[in-house]
Structures are given as C-alpha cells and as structure tokens.
Amino acid sequence: MSGAAIMVAVTVAAPPERAFALFTDEVDVWWQRGPAYRFRRGNDGTMRFDPGPGGRLVEAYPDGTLFEVGHIRDWQPGRRLAFSWRNPHHSGDEETEVEIEFKAVPGGTRVVVRHSGWDRLNPGHPARHALADVPLMRMMGDWWRGQLAAMAGRLPG
C-alpha cells in the first residue's frame, strides 16, 4: 500500500541546480496567489523555505504570525527535495508528503513532484472536498500542474 498519490512533472529550461533554486529560493514568486494556492485566506502571506535538513516551509503573515506548512525531510540541491505538508485544518498526524526530483534532461531539468499521504485524512476530512481518492488526486494533479506551469514560466524558453 503506497497510498493514493499524484505525480506531476514539468521540464524547465535551466540546469538542475538552478531549477532547485527556483523551486526553493523563489517559492514566493511563483507559488500562485488565491484561496486555492496560499494557506490562509487573504493571500497576504509570504512563503519561504528555511533551507537545509531540519528546515521547513512556512507562510509568514504581516501580523507577525506564521503557518508552518511542513518540515524538510530531504534537501539535496540540484537533486532532490522532500518536505511534509499540512493545511491549517489538518491535525498533527494528518501530514502529507511531497517529494521533488530534479533530473537533467536535454533542454533543462525534469522536475517531478510526487504528493502522497492522503490516506492519512479520514474520508470526511474537509481537505478531501467530499471526493474519493482518485478524483481528489486528479484535482490535486491539476493544482500542481498550475503551480509548476507558473514556476516554469519564470524561466525563458
């Protein structure tokens, strides 16, 4: 049992080190705004990775509060990034997992996102939007595709 998962990939026109830096250093630039994309309504937060092993992904708000999206599980610049992910309405044991691989390919870097762990959310959980696993994953796939297209759009070509 691997749990329901989504895998989405995009090729960006940059070498893996640059693609990794784009994903991490510039997350606030490409991560789209709107209720579906940022973690709290209002969309006034700033996203950032506190880098390195033991680091985290956070969204910080102008009132000084902060939402911790997740913890960095793996930090290998230019190769692999993994972090846990929860929404504000997830309880402590409802973390999902995001793994990103950066692979050099002709023309740039293949960025492959895998998002799993959805089986930790009970069937009635609001994050499921009353959807069964497969339609939920399709929705998340579209969501990630929009994100990765926005990220890839930061680069020429």
Partner: protein, 150 residues
C-alpha cells in the same frame, strides 16, 4: 483554417502502470501526470511526446473500456504520432520489446512510417514527414483521388 492539436487519444490498459513504463522505454514518451490509487495503481496517466499528449487509464471502468488484449486483439482506432527520426524510433521500440507490425516504409503521401503494437496490443503508427507530395502525384501513385485543403 490552422490546425489545432486539441484532440487527445485516451487508451485503456489492463496494466496501466506497465503501459506507462513501456511507453517511456519503447516510444520515448514522458510522463507528466499520474493519478494513483491506494494500491499504487495508475487510475489516470498523461504522457507526452514533443508536446503532444496521450491519456491512459485502466480498462474495465466501463464495460466498453477494454484493452485490445481482452478484445481478441481488435483495435477500433490507432494512434498516429509524428517523430523526428522514424528509423531511430523504430530501433528503440524494437530494442525495448515492441512488436513491429510493419517496418519503416516510405508512403505515397510523403511520410515514412512504421507500425508497432504495445504489450496489450494497441497499435501505434510513427511517422516522419520526408517529402512534400503534390495532390496530383499522390493520386497518380495511389490510384485514389486525393484532395486536401490547408
């Protein structure tokens, strides 16, 4: 009227996970979306080649959605894919275990094509445009009346 590539074939497989691995290894597709269920089985996949898309998923979700393997090998459609180097593409497909149904051959309409069957018996045509052929020459070479509009 310009042609827009907005028609996307969607194929049914008994083993969609295996199909994706094959399409990558043999035909050079790149996977860019996978939706997998709690057992790790692909429920929806999208693979692309040179920006063109093919969708695939498990057979059996509807009674008409069958793999050719469970339909006596019948195909009611085949997928036609344009590639840059059809001979090299064929060699790769053969090396990866594709059954070559028709070897690369120059066609009267100016494409060089080959046909291959994947492990479940879907037929694929891969084509490289090698020569512009006027309609009257196509007609003369084929014995058919050829008309086209661009």
């Amino acid at each position: 009227m310009p042609i827009r590539q907005t028609i996307i074939p969607a194929l049914s497989y008994d083993d969609p996970n295996g199909a994706i691995a094959f399409l990558e290894a043999a035909f050079g597709f790149e996977t860019h979306l996978l939706v997998t269920d709690g057992d790790g089985r692909v429920q929806h996949g999208e693979v692309s080649i040179d920006g063109a898309l093919v969708m695939l998923g498990p057979a059996g979700w509807a009674d008409w959605a069958k793999s050719p393997r469970s339909a006596g090998g019948a195909n009611t459609q085949s997928v036609h894919v344009e590639v840059a180097d059809v001979d090299a593409h064929c060699a790769r497909a053969r090396a990866a275990g594709a059954r070559i149904v028709a070897e690369p051959t120059d066609q009267f309409y100016g494409d060089r094509t080959y046909r291959a069957a994947d492990p479940e018996g879907h037929h694929w045509v891969f084509a490289q445009h090698v020569r512009d052929v006027p309609a009257d020459e196509m007609s003369a070479n084929s014995g058919l009346k050829v008309e086209y509009r661009s």
